[in-house]
């Protein structure tokens, strides 16, 4: 009996190396482990063994069965896992999900806000349908003043209009708060201009204002330079030049070196090498007086960015209408 046990053990061990596929495994199982296999056959013959030998033979048989089963299980695991691997086509595409995107103007507004909030500015909004008073008169545009020609206006009634800039929010916030006031005012504005690649009845501005004791023109420059370096990169060159807005004095435009041609001159910067990025100036004393501040006590600076202009230049878009057409093929690029 012991000899036969050793024969079966040797036979099983001899086959172990060849168990590399499902067919071989099945043959092995039928030959050794099935109900009519050689291990079961040996158990059958246990009853012919003498009572005295039975415990020892039974133990040897159990050990044989464990070993053969072990050979089978080990081989089966290897075969199964490799079978599983080869059944997955790893080149299949992922099951797609819908992709989202943020509108470019909205992205840019957020970037402006992030930079200015980090510099201690509050964010305030105001109405788009605005009174002539806040849009013009309170900002030093008297009636019958040619400066009004700078901003072609949509009227909805003789005294109510679609705001032409976000600057009226400066007046509204100063009326409500006492100095120090420091805030930016993002929002949508309207100009009555013929639609073209450069101009579309609506666009967005981000105005800013800071009024406090001892605020200076030098600080205005410092703040806008700090913004420009964060937004456009620390290597930009800049210049401030004299300009005119009725609500600021002195008034200034800030230019930075054209980042498309690095100041050499190209079509985008009209061969000047400079790009105008923000209008600014010191809040006019008349406006401080009008909101009840004492211009001898406090002073302030103000500025206003055009958002779409920034977007077009930065992303090389040649037609502002693309921003408001909302063609998905445009949206998904950003």
């Amino acid at each position: 009996m012991n000899d036969r046990i050793e024969q079966v053990r040797a036979a099983a061990r001899a086959e172990a190396a060849s168990l590399t596929n499902a067919d071989a495994l099945e043959r092995f199982r039928l030959s050794f482990l099935a109900r009519k296999g050689s291990v079961a056959d040996l158990f059958d013959q246990l009853r012919h063994v003498t009572a005295a030998d039975k415990p020892a033979v039974g133990k040897a048989l159990n050990e044989l069965r464990t070993e053969v089963q072990g050979i089978y299980d080990g081989a089966k695991e290897k075969v199964d896992s490799s079978a599983q691997r080869t059944s997955i086509d790893l080149t299949l595409p992922g099951r797609p999900l819908f992709a989202g995107s943020r509108h470019l103007v909205s992205q840019t507004l957020e970037e402006f806000q992030r930079v200015f909030v980090s510099m201690g500015f509050d964010i305030v909004e105001g109405p788009e349908v605005e009174s002539d008073y806040y849009n013009f008169e309170a900002l030093n545009f008297p009636p019958d003043h040619p400066a009004r020609d700078m901003q072609d206006t949509f009227f909805v009634s003789p005294s109510v209009l679609l705001r032409t800039h976000t600057t009226p929010v400066q007046v509204r916030i100063m009326e409500k708060r006492k100095p120090p006031v420091r805030a930016i005012m993002p929002g949508r504005v309207y100009r009555n201009e013929a639609v073209s690649a450069r101009s579309l009845v609506q666009f967005h501005q981000v105005d800013g204002v800071y009024v406090d004791k001892g605020v200076t023109f030098a600080e205005l420059k410092g703040t806008l330079v700090a913004f420009a370096k964060r937004y456009y990169g620390s290597s930009i060159k800049y210049r401030f030049r004299a300009s005119y807005f009725p609500f600021t004095e002195p008034s200034a435009e800030m230019d930075i070196t054209c980042y498309l041609c690095a100041g050499k001159g190209c079509r985008v910067c009209k061969h000047s090498g400079w790009l105008e990025i923000v209008g600014s100036g010191m809040v006019h004393p008349n406006i401080l007086k009008r909101v009840g501040y004492d211009p001898e006590e406090v002073s302030g600076y103000a500025f206003g960015f055009g958002v779409e202009r920034t977007v077009l230049l930065r992303h090389g878009i040649d037609d502002i209408r693309l921003l408001y057409e909302n063609d998905v093929r445009f949206l998904e690029q950003f």
């Binding site: 788009e128 009634s157 109510v160 005119y244 004095e249």
Partner: protein, 805 residues
Amino acid sequence: MKIVSSWLKDFVDVEWTPQQFSDDLTMVGLEVESYEDLAATYDKFVVGKVVSCEKHPKADRLTVCRVDVGSEELQIVCGAPNVAPGQTVPVGLVGATVPHGQHDPDGKPFVLGKVKLRGVDSSGMICSAKELGLGTDGDGIMVLTTDARPGTPLAIALQRNDVVYEIGITPNRPDCLSHLGVAREVAIQTGGEVRRPAITLKESGEPAAKLASIEIRDADLCPRYCGRVLSDVRVIPSPEWLQRRLELAGVRPINAVVDATNYVMFELGHPLHAFDLDRLDGHAIVVRRAGPDAEFTTLDGRSRQLRPDMLMICDRSRPVAIGGVMGGENSEVSETTTRLLIEGAYFLPSNIRRTARTLGLSTEASYRFERGADPEMAKLAVERTAQLIQELTAATVHPGLIDVYPKGMEASRIRFRPRRANEILGTNIEPSAMRSYLGRLGAHVTANGEEELVVVPPSFRVDISEEIDLIEEVARVHGYNNIETQTRSAIDFSIPTAPARVADEARSHLIGAGWREIMAISLQPETVASLGGPAPIKVLNPVSAEMQALRTSMIPGTLDIVRLNLHRGNKDLRLFEIGKVYRRSSENLASVEDVVEEDRLMMAWAGVAAPVAFDRPSREVDLMDLRGEVDALLRRVCLDKYRFLPYRADNTLTESALSLEINGTYGGWFGEVRRDIAKRFEIEVPIFVGEIALPVLEQAWTRDRTFRPLPRFPHVVRDLAFVVERTMPQGDLEDLIRLTAGPLLESLVLFDAYQGAQTGGGRRSLAYSLAFRSPDHTLTDAEVDAHIRAIVDRARSVCGAELRS
């Protein structure tokens, strides 16, 4: 405003290159928008002398010419019939760019090469006036009258070597709307001297005062009126040099008289007018408001409706000009004119502007007067014009300037504190330096004690009236770029910071969930705006009917965007917008308070419910897909403080709509766009849309959430399937289950809704998975069974729901 370089040099010496000139003027606020170097246009064009002409051996119409161009003699084949030996002609050398290609349909420029014409070498081209952009004559070559030597650059021979600058003059600087004005700014920069034109009039004949009279009746609108009388005037063309300057400045030459008035306006900045003295009734000028005069024909031949407060220049009996705006046909200078009255006046800016706007008539004159002319310049301008007309036409200038200036204009005296200037600018400029800066502007400066100066600005600087104006001037002359940049680093904690906003939360959720943000135009056709609500706010002066009314809902504008995308083949659209809608809160729009602007979130979905995958069939989106997206958004923003209510009430835009209640307040709606509406936008596919009122969502936004301890005991899950009548809303059964199950029911999921053969006609099966959990002990089967029995019993009795085995 166009500035011609040679003209500018009449008044100031300037040695800058065009680029330097542009940069330096731009820095002080005179923005040079562009410049054109005319000499560059005629680069590689020279004066040539035709030495000989021979017939082309193979072409009848061509001539083989030898042309002396100074450095050499060129052989040029010419096709013009008029070429002849001895002519002085413009020659384009090889490499020159001919400005106007005569054989190109669009007249595009082309570059000259060395060519063979029918076998004969030709090195260059003899040009026509048209080819050079100097006229319309293209039939033959241009024959020059110049005595310039062969080889002279054409630009110099033709005196076309000017640089013309286009300068954007801001509304506060009318003093720069002239060559003299720009020369003054240049002189401030260079420290040079400005040369004002010297007036040398040869007066003769009767005194002017005997030939004409001037009376100002409304001095509030016209403080000063100067006149000069000329006779023996000949209305002839101006000389070429003057015509060319006017053309370069952008004005068409007419005749010596009109040209002289225009010339002086561009030179000195003061508008002038010439009347035919013999057409003035009584040889009189009366300056007065229009009053009852209702109609007037301006010299452009158009009849104008007058208003009583418009200032008119009249004669004894009738208006002859709209003061400061445009002259009249009835007193216009004509070919037969021999006697003139030259007007140089000063008008009140606001009245000129009102008049020009009312009439819709903006002229070079009104443009300058409404911004503010220099009252002191009126006299010089008239003298200069008289001098010019005398020079051009040999006219007689009658002795005496008629100058009616009843009150004079008081120069403003402004207190200026140098310390204050440094405080505003953040600088340490010495007071003596400031004094010198102000002096360079032409201001009269005197000390007033230790700390203060008194400044009288020059009369042409109408923009300077208070201290802050002088501070700006100090900064400008000092140079903005010489002011250092400073920052304030101290954090001011008293300034509020912007609160977080639900719009940002919703936006980032939706982008993450695969929605694309769009931005639409708020202005749309009135018919489109009306779809979203009644009586949209309309713009009185729209740029077009397409952009006439403010949107009352974001849906119609979105449908337009959907249409555009569908037409371009973009089929699967999941779009959202965060923006405003506008409506009136009262009939009339007297103030801002009559307008309500509401922030909204719009969602629109068309196309597939999920992107196609290799083992996932594509299915069209339906309302429940959209509802699921809204659920996910709202759960993030305000947990469970919302519910949907089915409603089929009248809605102009959608059918099968759900309204949304957030925290007990109406907060928006969702539904499928009505087919007839979609068709109006040429949309043939189902499209699901919705709008949420952001203020309502903001109110319900739950950020201060209190922690609920995580459950410590296991839950028990039971599935129940009911068969109900098809007409019974699922929501009724769901509500009943929740109500009956009580607080131990942790969650309820409808995992199957089926309707078919097995449920019998008219019935459907609804299968729910219920999870029960107790916060304080492990639930027993018996406890849960009791709840299940109660649910089954009530479902049967209330909803007629049978338990499905």
